[in-house]
């Protein structure tokens, strides 16, 4: 097991999410940056649905009460073991008593800490992902003790894995045209084609709001399904990118939909980062 000595800014347990319960109004949740989290699990030969820790901006401080193997991917928060810097994107040996710590992120926003075997927290509606009203805890706090699944086959940490993973801080976000894109005027479409957009400080696991607004007279839509990655345009002109914890239906026009890799890219964006849309 592991003990959380300090949760960092905002850390939670996440996995692939709840894929079969949206019709009960249950959001998918799960890791924001699925590319980074998948890599973290792959490096350890963990089953792909293994739960891990997602950390935002400032990473946690963790005491390992077992010897194990871990991997850290995503944003670079200068991870250290017993105050010695360790490599990211690699399987790392941990000895019982080791303390893993982080600093403020240098680029990107979220990092992933995978542990050999995966975190063994409560499985609710098929997932261990934290979500208010579903899981017991919304986020990790100081003093939390987490159990780890034991794996029969131990990974040899010196096993080679070719990772040509370069941290991706692309600004270009690929989008599908949403169901209500057709109602935009030519001038409004032009705005989306050419404008550079700024991430506002209103960003979290539920949604990212952009600073720029677009005045519009679009009608509200009859409540319809939405997905993480759906971009809504509100009557007030706000542009909202729905993310993993978003509600399953919405009444605002859906003008775009991020493709899968774009959701991962947005997950690493911070306040004041710039993005530009590219149409699929």
């Amino acid at each position: 097991m592991i003990k959380i000595l300090d949760p960092g800014l905002y850390s939670s347990i996440q996995d692939l999410g709840r894929l079969n319960y949206e019709h009960f109004g249950v959001p998918i949740s799960g890791c924001m940056d699925l590319q980074s989290s998948s890599l973290a699990n792959k490096l350890l030969n963990n089953p792909k649905e293994s739960a891990l820790i997602e950390s935002t901006q400032i990473g946690p401080k963790i005491l390992f009460k077992i010897s194990t193997i871990i991997s850290i991917t995503g944003a670079n928060m200068t991870p250290s073991i017993n105050n010695k810097l360790i490599l990211m994107n690699k399987a790392i040996n941990i000895k019982k008593g080791d303390i893993l710590s982080f600093n403020n992120s240098k680029n990107g926003l979220r990092c992933y800490i995978a542990i050999n075997g995966g975190i063994k927290s409560d499985l609710i509606l098929g997932s261990r992902s934290c979500f208010k009203g579903i899981s017991q805890n919304i986020k990790l706090k100081k003093g939390d003790v987490l159990k780890i699944n034991s794996l029969k086959k131990r990974l040899n940490s010196s096993s080679k894995m070719n990772i040509s993973y370069i941290y991706d801080n692309k600004k270009i976000i690929s989008v599908f045209k949403g169901p209500e894109f057709v109602y935009l005027s030519e001038k409004q479409k032009h705005f989306f084609y050419h404008q550079k957009f700024t991430i506002s400080n209103e960003n979290n696991r539920m949604a990212y709001k952009l600073k720029e607004k677009l005045k519009n007279e679009l009608n509200s839509i009859i409540t319809s399904p939405v997905l993480p990655g759906t971009i809504q345009l509100t009557p007030g002109g706000e542009i909202i990118i729905l993310m993993r914890d978003c509600q399953v239906t919405g009444g605002y026009p859906r003008i775009f939909q991020l493709n899968k890799s774009s959701i991962n890219l947005i997950s690493q964006k911070k306040t004041n980062d710039l993005i530009k849309f590219k149409f699929i």
Partner: protein, 243 residues
Amino acid sequence: MKEKDINLSFLLYNENSILIGWTKIINESTLKEILIYKNKLSKIKSIQNTINAYNSLLIKYKSEIKSFNEEVKNLKGLYKEKVKTQEIKMSKHWKIPVCYGKKYAPDIYLVSKKLKLSSSEIIKLHSSKKYTLYFIGFLPGFIYLGQLDSKLRIPRKQNPSKIYMAGSIGIADYQTGIYPNDSPGGWNIIGNSPLTYFDPFNKAPCFANSGDTIEFYSINEKEYNQTKHLSNNNLNFIKELND
């Protein structure tokens, strides 16, 4: 034989999903069509999940769609297939106890003033109708019920409230619903139900499904407290009450 015209729209929503749209009107016959189709789709192994709202259905596939046009052809074909009567899912009818007393209805004065109705008229209009459960959305277990009597139509609040008590009964536009947990919200609250409507520890976490029907009945404060005590946060209680 003349081919039945399919009056549906198909859109590639993302790499794994297709959104199907029916005509933009909210009514029970459209919902019925959607639910029959949803039931047909539930047998297809390549589909992860389907989510319906008032007049649309989002189909999520387990893998990326190779050819959108091919898949639309398949979906249209499936839509035209005749349905065996045995395959039509039976819907359930639920009776839900509500205490409409002032203590549980923070917005009753607001509603009464705006609609120029007395609170007893509001209660009568709300509790004398059989509602259709269109879908569950917004929050885990939040059921969208329609349609309210035209005399009860009031828009959402301009400024949403920070917190509504679990069990709050809200009305907005042509809809009514129950807030299953303490949460923020924008509908107008006219009562409270003492039962549990959502339990994440239950494999079927919501008590009801799309297509079910619901009616509300009035209880007094004493009955409210008794029922709350008996129900004891158990999702199964409402099922027992309705058996």
